[in-house]
């Protein structure tokens, strides 16, 4: 199990607490005062560490192997979910999951990239790097949503789209472009949430929505920091510096006007308390759909276009 440097002291305390608990259970000794003290320490340490996270720490958190993934949130948030499969063109990409969900009174189409928890599942899911067929499955589901007037929720969590020869042969670029185009055509309310890694084109392919949100420790980037460092300094190990330069955190995205809301994660990040994270995510999503329900189909279409029309920062010389 990967433990990141900034998490080490927390994990050490947690193992100490665990040991004491076991000791008291096995030997019948009352160590509750010591345990309580260690827990206070742990809390204080977590607060201290998480108050000073650097962008690179957020990159690591967004990629944390214990971080909840799309299907975890669907299970924790939705009353019901039926997964639908296939792009109807010959493939079903396990890197993208989608289906019909019930969420707090809403009937939704949900689509998102899915990472794998163990080695076998990671390989099956291709590390959530979707192939053209993944985006084509997504498009099919978006069109289903449009036909039956179901709002769309997308959960974004991918390092990148699959860059391999197979994906190139089947038109990965076209699939990404057309997925965005399809999302622009919708007249139902759409909400996208970057829950982990928002990796470049593969991420934005599912994130053309009326509202775009990010979890507190998610990232959204045009290029992985390692790749950026390799280009600027010819040294991928300078990725932490590149992470600073790229401004890829949720707070950066909010400040740059690219997202609508940052959803707070529990102290110590989503993987320390998936339930609470899912509850916050759920209420943020419901709030968005509630607000969007005031708009007509035509307004939803226009609103989405105007949202992205504004994006970009430039000067105009007289």
């Amino acid at each position: 199990m990967t433990i990141f440097d900034f998490e080490k002291p927390i994990n050490e305390l947690e193992s100490a607490i665990q040991e004491l608990r076991q000791l008291s259970a096995e030997k019948g000794l009352d160590r509750s005062r010591e345990i309580a003290e260690l827990e206070t320490q742990r809390e204080r340490l977590l607060k201290q560490i998480f108050a000073h996270l650097r962008p690179w720490d957020k990159v690591l958190l967004a990629r944390h192997p214990k971080r909840p993934y799309t299907m975890d949130y669907i299970r924790l948030m939705c009353e019901q979910f039926v997964e639908l499969h296939g792009d109807r063109l010959g493939f079903d990409d396990p890197a993208i999951v989608g289906g019909l969900a019930k969420l707090g009174g809403y009937k939704l189409v949900v689509v998102g990239q899915q990472k794998g928890r163990d080695l076998k599942e990671r390989q099956k899911r291709n590390f959530a790097m979707a192939k053209p067929e993944g985006y084509r499955k997504a498009m099919r589901l978006f069109q289903l949503a449009e036909k039956f007037r179901l709002p769309v929720l997308t959960l974004v969590d991918t390092p990148a789209a699959d860059p391999g020869v197979e994906s190139e042969s089947r038109g990965i670029s076209e699939a990404i472009a057309r997925s965005m185009l399809t999302m622009f055509q919708l007249t139902v309310p759409t909400v996208a949430v970057v829950i982990g890694e928002g990796g470049s084109g593969g991420a934005i392919a599912l994130a053309v929505a009326n509202r775009v949100l990010m979890l507190e420790h998610a990232i959204y980037s045009v290029i992985p920091p390692e790749g950026c460092a390799a280009i600027i300094w010819r040294d991928a190990s300078r990725a932490p510096e590149a992470a600073d330069a790229l401004q890829l955190t949720a707070d950066d995205a909010l400040r740059l006007g690219l997202i609508d809301m940052v959803i707070s994660e529990p102290l110590g990040a989503a993987h320390r308390d998936p339930q609470t994270t899912a509850l916050s995510l759920r209420s943020a999503i419901l709030q968005q759909f509630h607000e969007l329900s005031a708009l007509t189909p035509e307004q939803l279409y226009q609103h989405r276009h105007e949202r992205f029309r504004r994006m970009g920062t430039f000067l105009s010389t007289p």
């Binding site: 860059p163 391999g164 190139e168 472009a177 980037s221 290029i223 600027i232 994006m311 430039f314 007289p318």
Partner: protein, 267 residues
């Protein structure tokens, strides 16, 4: 662009970048910088492309006043921009405007690889977006020549958003029922290929142009088999159904004219 040959009146001779044969410069220019020996299409600058594509003296540049900012205070970005401006004589990586093609008005945009690898930041995205909006508003077809390594890293997420923004432009033009023709020139890659470029009604590519999603090394690493020798060329993309037709440089203007005539946008 061409290496000079150190002999006699060297100004008169250039070397083909691919087959390395020596070419007589006036012939080379007359052939629109296509090698007469191997057919290699050497890169053109944006204004050279406009000159060989539109009817003479009909180009009116638009949105030339837009300049890149440095919203992220990204290391060395202002220097890079200034250097690109000095070496290319352009202010950004795409030149856009209107002009006539066979007597009919069109909106045209030409990317310039010489300017920071034709990368798409906020200005490039905005200028391309305005091409589509101008097309829709003024009821004109849109022609875009692509030449880009992808999104401009130095503007971070803002560059990424240009993929969506330009796609919104295509959607508006499509809805207005107007033709959009794209020409992939060397190279057409990554964030540009994965957004507006791939969404044209008809896609033309120049022979031998590099056209692909990821860098060649990344693609090879992510694959089990070895990439084919023509991987990520215009020819490869045509074989796989992603490009309509490969057209030699001299035939591009007549091909565009034919397409516009077919779509009722010209003639």
């Amino acid at each position: 662009m061409q290496r000079r040959v150190a002999s006699g009146s060297s100004e008169q001779w250039v070397q083909c970048q691919k087959c390395k044969k020596i070419l007589f410069k006036p012939d080379f220019e007359r052939a629109l910088r296509v090698c007469i020996h191997c057919g290699h299409h050497h890169r053109l600058r944006a204004r050279e492309r406009i000159a060989i594509t539109l009817d003479p003296d009909t180009f009116v540049e638009q949105d030339a006043e837009l300049r890149s900012d440095d919203p992220l205070r990204f290391p060395d970005y202002p220097d890079k921009l200034m250097r690109a401006q000095q070496t290319t004589g352009e202010f950004e990586a795409v030149i856009t405007g209107t002009g006539k093609l066979g007597g009919s008005e069109v909106v045209i945009g030409v990317m310039d690889f010489a300017f920071m690898g034709g990368s798409m930041g906020s200005v490039v995205g905005e200028k391309i977006m305005r091409c589509f909006l101008r097309g829709a508003d003024e009821y004109l077809p849109v022609i875009l020549f692509c030449a880009s390594g992808g999104a401009r890293m130095q503007e971070g997420m803002l560059s990424l958003m240009q993929m969506a923004k330009t796609t919104a432009g295509v959607e508006k033009l499509q809805r207005a029922g107007l033709p959009y023709l794209a020409v992939f020139t060397d190279p057409t890659m990554a964030g540009v290929l994965a957004s507006f470029a791939s969404l044209a009604d008809v896609i033309i590519a120049e022979p031998g142009a590099l056209v692909g999603f990821a860098g060649q090394r990344v693609a090879a690493q992510a694959s089990s088999g070895k990439p084919p020798t023509n991987f990520q060329t215009a020819e490869f993309q045509t074989e796989h159904g992603m490009v309509d037709l490969i057209v030699p440089r001299a035939q591009i203007r007549p091909t565009l004219l034919y397409l516009l005539e077919m779509f009722g946008g010209a003639g």
